[in-house]
Symmetry: C2
Subunit: 546 residues, 2 copies
């Protein structure tokens, strides 16, 4: 199953920069140990209060120097890697192409998991777990499956000190082993539908890797279902892509375009692939989630049959669907700016950071007391809040640090605020003074309502901004020349399409763009294929992609 990854064609078109990353040059990673902020894990943990003030002057001096994030407009890829390193989202593992997901990055993944896990269960799916070692012979059973995956397999050939009789595949996806087990569990129509999901790691030997977007091992959920009728399977595939779409819009504030893949881009083995396509800050498309209607292809390869109500044996109809840690990359590349990460409140591990400010030692106690009360009040009302009360950094350093980490709201409390019983609140999404409001009452119920309101506003604002960006970068085209012009400007092209697979491959070769999808939302009216001039039923979206 090719869900959540590009086909081999698109691989060839990946930018050279991502190949360079795979070499893991420290310079490219842009980690500067001597300057970088304190590791996140330590700031998350119950640190021993070994507060030292002697560092303060030094820290404040190096404050500007610490901002080592390449401007986004200057080099998007370098910016992306800088954000990941500086915000401590992930690190490279010792094996080429592997990634260590650090606590702050993992917390974003946990927010994704929490939301989806509830939705999967509400729609009747049960979690379970399949072994990750798959006999090699299983992979060979479905012809297009082995063709798609064999170049990317990691193989275990030695176990317990002995050469294995049959080499084992470290799962790249689980359709084969799932079908092997389904044949044992499915007997009659009463065993259907069978609706399951697993949260797991998967391995694909990718040549060109990029943190979160394409790694040798990644985390995902893979849903697998079996049904008695093709209609039910189709309904399921659509239901799951709808859940992904809602998640992207409502939680991640990513205005994905949902649609159907072209035949060329459909997962080999599936009847239909549905996808959510997101526009990144560099206007490249990211396939952020897929849902496949597998028809009876795997069922035939594995003999997954049931006895229907009339006593006849039939193959089941299946779906599979997945979202992976790649989505975290999509969040970074949708919302981030020159200052670093910008997180939608609904998936932010920290929604509000409180920075206490004092100059004289006799101010410290009152400021910290007030900050602590504000923290407790917000926490009680379910807001994810962090009080950065460390002595080791200046307020200015903290402002930059938490902006870089993408925390949606910052509360500042100084001696004058304490005296007036109020706080200052700054929005991450509106830089400088415009995003800053003074004199918000500290009174818990007032503050709580204000903060919740602002978080909602930021959530909506991020989505609106992303929608505006997306829509201003999609160009409606009616000829192939239009399409080429749009793509060469780095934009997405939307135009009627009914041409052949060969024409589609020609577009890919000549422009680097692929059909991302035939969107569910289609314009009205008569359409003529941009390539052939023949009648076309649908518009397609073309773009370069990750």
């Amino acid at each position: 199953m090719l869900s959540l990854r590009l086909t081999s064609f698109t691989h060839l078109l990946s930018p050279p920069s991502s190949a360079a990353i795979a070499r893991r040059s420290p310079a490219i990673l842009r980690r500067r140990h001597h300057l970088r902020p304190r590791p996140l894990a330590a700031s998350f943990s119950s640190q021993s209060a070994a507060a030292e003030t002697k560092d303060r002057v030094e820290n404040s001096k190096s404050r500007v120097a610490e901002r080592v994030i390449t401007p986004r407009s200057q080099d998007f890829n370098a910016w992306y890697l800088d954000v990941i390193a500086n915000a401590e989202l992930a690190d490279y593992g010792p094996v080429r192409g592997t990634m260590v997901i650090r606590p702050y990055g993992y917390a974003i993944w946990e927010a994704i998991q929490e939301y989806l896990n509830v939705k999967f269960k509400e729609t009747g799916h049960s979690n379970m777990y399949f072994p990750q070692f798959i006999p090699y012979s299983f992979i060979e059973k479905e012809a297009s499956h082995v063709e798609g995956f064999s170049p990317e397999l990691a193989l275990v050939t030695i176990g317990g000190g002995k050469e294995l009789e049959e080499k084992l595949v470290v799962r790249p996806t689980s359709e084969t082993i799932v079908n092997h087990m389904f044949t044992q569990w499915i007997h009659s129509y009463r065993d259907l539908p069978l609706l399951i999901n697993q949260w797991a790691n998967v391995t694909r030997w990718e040549m060109r890797t990029k943190p979160f977007v394409r790694t040798l091992e990644f985390l995902w959920q893979e849903g697998h279902t079996a049904h008695a009728t093709p209609e039910e399977a189709e309904k399921e595939a659509i239901q799951m892509i709808d859940i992904y779409t809602r998640f992207a819009f409502e939680q991640a504030a990513i205005p994905v375009i949902t649609g159907r893949k072209s035949k060329v881009e459909t997962f080999a083995g599936a009847c239909k692939t549905y996808t959510i396509e997101a526009m990144m800050g560099d206007k490249k498309a990211l396939q952020a989630g897929t849902s496949h209607n597998l028809g009876q292809n795997f069922a035939r390869a594995f003999g997954t049959q049931f006895t229907d109500e009339n006593g006849l044996r039939e193959h089941v109809w299946q779906t599979s669907w997945a979202i992976s840690t790649r989505f975290v990359g999509g969040i970074i590349m949708t919302h981030g700016d020159d200052a670093g990460l910008m997180l939608p409140p609904k998936i932010a591990p920290i929604q509000v950071v409180i920075v206490p400010i004092w100059k004289k030692d006799d101010e410290k106690g009152a400021v910290l007391n007030a900050a602590s009360s504000v923290k407790d009040a917000l926490q009680r009302s379910g807001i994810k809040v962090k009080l950065d009360d460390s002595d080791q950094r200046t307020p200015g350093w903290k402002f930059n640090f938490w902006e870089m980490k993408g925390v949606p709201l910052r509360i500042e409390i100084g001696p004058r605020d304490v005296a007036s019983g109020s706080v200052v609140i700054s929005r991450r999404d509106i830089p400088g003074k415009q995003g800053k409001v003074f004199g918000i009452s500290m009174e818990p119920s007032n503050l709580e309502a204000y903060v919740k309101d602002k978080l909602d506003e930021i959530q909506s604002s991020l989505l609106e901004r992303a929608i505006a960006f997306r829509d201003s970068n999609i160009i409606d085209v009616s000829t192939y020349d239009d399409l080429k012009a749009a793509i060469s400007q780095g934009k997405w092209a939307r135009g009627p399409w009914s041409a052949s697979d060969e024409d589609e491959l020609k577009v890919k070769e000549e422009t680097g763009a692929t059909i991302r999808c035939f969107p569910f939302e289609q314009p009205q009216g008569i359409k003529r294929c941009l390539m052939t001039g023949n009648p076309a039923e649908e518009v397609a979206i073309f773009a370069k992609s990750y």
Copy 2:
């Protein structure tokens, strides 16, 4: 790290039956497709209402025949495998020694995860994720580590179609890769303590496998921490074994004995290993969780250092701790009986099952309405409830089925109950009429309070019963002859011990029993070593184990 598994010595003493299981004979699996109840996944899922009554007579005939669980007293191992198959907790995977965790079994694991995950975060730990592929050279860095693990490694030698330059170990545990990364994240004392955890799969090429208890791949959490002082590391190791102990007692109703491993049984590489040891229904011990004080051993092997407050470079002090899917096996073997599984309410995926009963079709509507209201009321109050309203099985079949699945409480509702506005409630832990109470009012607040009360009672009762069983099977011994007698009766022996490692190995060879731990709770008074007669500071517990 040898946490959660037996040392190689104990392997030699494993009963032949578990070796036989590894061969996966269908007879041993005791799956009888033609007779077995409907698969769980289907009953969990939003099934199409293709209710057929023609099966009813047939089903009711085969009802007795379906109960294929070997009596526990007759063959504990066969009983265990029968329960796993019939309650649909797990299935064998296609690769020898692997296990598919089915939805009902996985839901128990999820209950374990939910509780522990909260406790880990409350104590300052952050979740993250390390790659599962570890360069082989890492494993070799810690001498005892490679010695302990090399016989059990699964090795990836081919990736992306090519022979790899360095073979990769599929993680058996993560101390090595964790230390490799810690060296990059830890610089000064301000970066400490570093407190992290990961939920992951691990692979150990075990020769003798048994579902949940010992599988080639299993799921676990592994905590890894680094500290500035040995005192802090020791405190952490104790804190985590305490969390495991509380979990075992309060959630799983398993009265584990918590203590320190002997030097022989300590994880090679650790200074101290703490363990929770549980007595199974066959009186064998199960090591159900471990917490290691690793001292500076891995830090020295990997050069994990920090600059202390005086500017000196020092190695960090570390811990690691783990609980795995093995714990699910412990729950089965602690509480189950001849009728099948018996789950403590706090970790039961279904706490209450409602079985509606009707004979005539005109009774059905009213009964199902009442059952449905009861379900909604209980669900609203946070109780995990399942209404088994299928037409395909008789109430008697359902009673047996849900008893076998270990559901703590059953509510029966028939036409007379509807008329009187009451229900009948049966406890899983008290068989027959004694566990049955008639005439409980259906009124929601009354019923909810009654059910919650009963669930608490069952939870306590399971723990009390397990404590009584445990205590009646531990014999205080003061000589080696006493010890041999106790072990030969299949019991645990507790006696003063200050003898040599050689003596400890002699006990193992002669009796099959090992020192499970020196319990934290020690008797008062002067003690003499049961083996040598010399003064002894502590009693040890000896038992045969899984």
